[in-house]
Subunit: 372 residues, 2 copies
């Protein structure tokens, strides 16, 4: 167990240092367009066809405005004051494709870009930007039947509250009222919450598109808060899985099975998580192999064959990360699992780091393997 | 029609000028607590038992920080720099109970308070604060069965997109799969969107609590974007209802009736809206009396008996506003409707203005009158 946590932390640290695209000295092409994640009607931030990002912030009396996105020093992009009193700047190099969190530092304080939508990450609502990916079609909103994402409030005796989860039901869920579905429990990472997989991850659109193309057997996805953010970053070893395991296994799963038309047995239940949600998935699946039969870690560590007590319980182990993380660890672990007789699959997302495009692609790769 | 729009605009203007509690010269009691709408772990903003709000913003090199909430001049609350480099200030007087939008002006730029959660209003994601109301119990999250709020993406040929709506289903919806429900179409105001009634309004919790107390016949609520924000504030007369009416009546209603277990006839369909959503409700119900039988305007104008062509189509007209708006207009119009033979009910929310506590209370009063 401890070994895996260390592997996870290593993945995370490597990821942190590589989470930006490599420096490029090309001149940005002047084809900047508003980011697709801007607030309605806002022209900035903008992204060009190479992945450069341009910011424009109005704060005429400010002394300094910097953005955490970019490479300049280690402080991101420093904006400069324009003639009209606004602050303008462009990242020194293109950003990796996909979604990135960022925020502003204005006169020493942390604020969001008023032009961009907000996404929960780093234990705060951060600004978000989207660099169009060459393969963005798989998570685009298309003219296909759409499933629903619904907020449920489930009673939790162990924490004395009603807790929130989001449940994706496939498009046909409301058509044939006799059909029952398998369920994937899908966890966010440290600093995020139960909104991440829908808002940043577009999990619902990825599913809608895969279903429309006939690539997967439709299933339900349940996303709840992993209680990860009470632990300080860097003190991950102190994380106690017990409270969340109780909420998930003893409270949420029975509620979902009673409220939705699920196939409520181990054979039809999967768990996956990204980053620290992968660490949780790892711990809970090993602790409760009688509950989940498909196990998936997305940039969230690896399984060692010797940790798994009963091989017959595991239908699939899926392990993924970005190519800018530590793909060799992921691939090697999957080879070891295969050699030990497990059905194991690895996936490496090209040219991405410890960020959401890695995890969107991982879900696209994982979904067709589940419940077959 | 024009007359009603003018009445609506009058309501709105009166509301704007009275939207703050009256000036009080008492000294704030030192029992400030973090607002319930703060981001996780944030100590500020804080609210005391009298409704004063205290802000603390970190921006050590800033020249000026003001908050739009409060009375000072017409620019809200001016913060002053404390010894630790943070900016601190307290509203000059208590705020009205309930929910308020606000934002910061830092060195001439508009930003959100990083301590507070964000809510879509004024055509941007604004900071939000909650002054605990003496009657807050009716929208509190309690240990009762909870309904779900689900995002649907419905096809819209008229706008060439998949459009988003949120659907509240009552707690028993997933228990008895043969039962069908009436539907309330519930609209947000200008500057807001389809997230407002759940996030700011707590419509789902109000319903859960009313159902748990046996006070209402459970029904479904559908909330979508009213396309109101393309019209500039102050140019409301130029608003064309046709595009939204098409989306609502020809696209959303058929989709909801096909996707949920609704009672899909006029007798079991209501429409209500707040502020500009009331103006939309007014226009659409008069244009399409064969679609809706219960009509409700929340701080959103009034009906005149002579505008309604077929009295037999209308089961109920509900008109409400805050006591700090223009309750006399609301009451008088309801008396006129009654004299003309309509079933009409007025409601005035005490000590509130053109804000969400008025509308939470209005929904609480309206819900028991529907579908009886």
């Amino acid at each position: 167990m401890k070994q895996n946590i260390i592997a996870f932390v290593v993945l995370l640290m490597v990821a942190g240092s590589l989470s930006l695209a490599q420096t490029s000295q090309t001149v940005p092409i002047d084809d900047f367009k508003p980011s697709t994640l801007n607030q309605p009607g806002n022209e900035y931030p903008q992204v060009n066809s190479q992945g450069y990002v341009r910011f424009r912030i109005e704060a005429p009396q400010a002394q300094s405005v910097t953005v955490t996105l970019g490479l300049r020093g280690k402080n991101g992009t420093k904006l400069t004051k324009a003639d009209d009193g606004s602050w303008i700047g462009t990242t020194e190099s293109p950003m990796d494709e996909g979604f990135h969190y960022y925020h502003l530092t204005i006169d020493g304080g942390t604020f969001n870009d008023p032009g961009a939508l907000n996404f929960y990450g780093s234990v705060r609502w951060e600004s978000g930007i989207e660099i169009p990916a060459h393969d963005q079609d798989f998570y685009a909103m298309k003219d296909v039947p759409h499933g629903n994402v619904q907020q449920i409030l489930f009673p939790s005796k162990s924490t004395g509250t009603s807790r929130r989860a989001f449940v994706y039901t496939p498009p046909a869920y409301y058509k044939d009222l006799s059909k029952r579905y398998p369920v994937l429990y899908l966890q966010h990472g440290w600093g995020e919450d139960e909104t991440a997989w829908s808002n940043q991850g577009h999990a619902n659109l990825i599913m809608d598109n895969l279903i429309a193309e006939g690539k997967i057997n439709p299933f339900i996805i349940v996303m709840t808060y992993g209680m990860t953010n009470e632990v300080k970053f860097g003190k991950i070893k102190e994380f106690d899985i017990t409270p969340f395991q109780t909420v998930l296994v003893d409270e949420l799963i029975p509620y979902v099975d009673a409220s939705f038309r699920t196939l409520g047995d181990q054979a039809h239940r999967a768990m996956a998580g990204l980053s620290m949600g992968g660490m949780e998935t790892h711990m809970i699946t090993l602790n409760k192999p009688e509950v989940f039969s498909y196990w998936a870690l997305l940039s969230g560590g690896i399984y060692k064959p010797e940790e798994i007590s009963d091989k017959s319980k595991v239908k699939l182990i899926f392990t993924s990360c970005g190519s800018r993380e530590n793909p060799d660890i992921v691939k090697k672990s999957v080879e070891e699992l295969k050699a030990a007789g497990f059905k194991a699959v690895s996936y490496v997302s090209e040219n991405t780091a410890h960020e959401f495009l890695t995890w969107r692609r991982s879900l696209r790769e994982l979904a067709p393997l589940l419940f077959k």
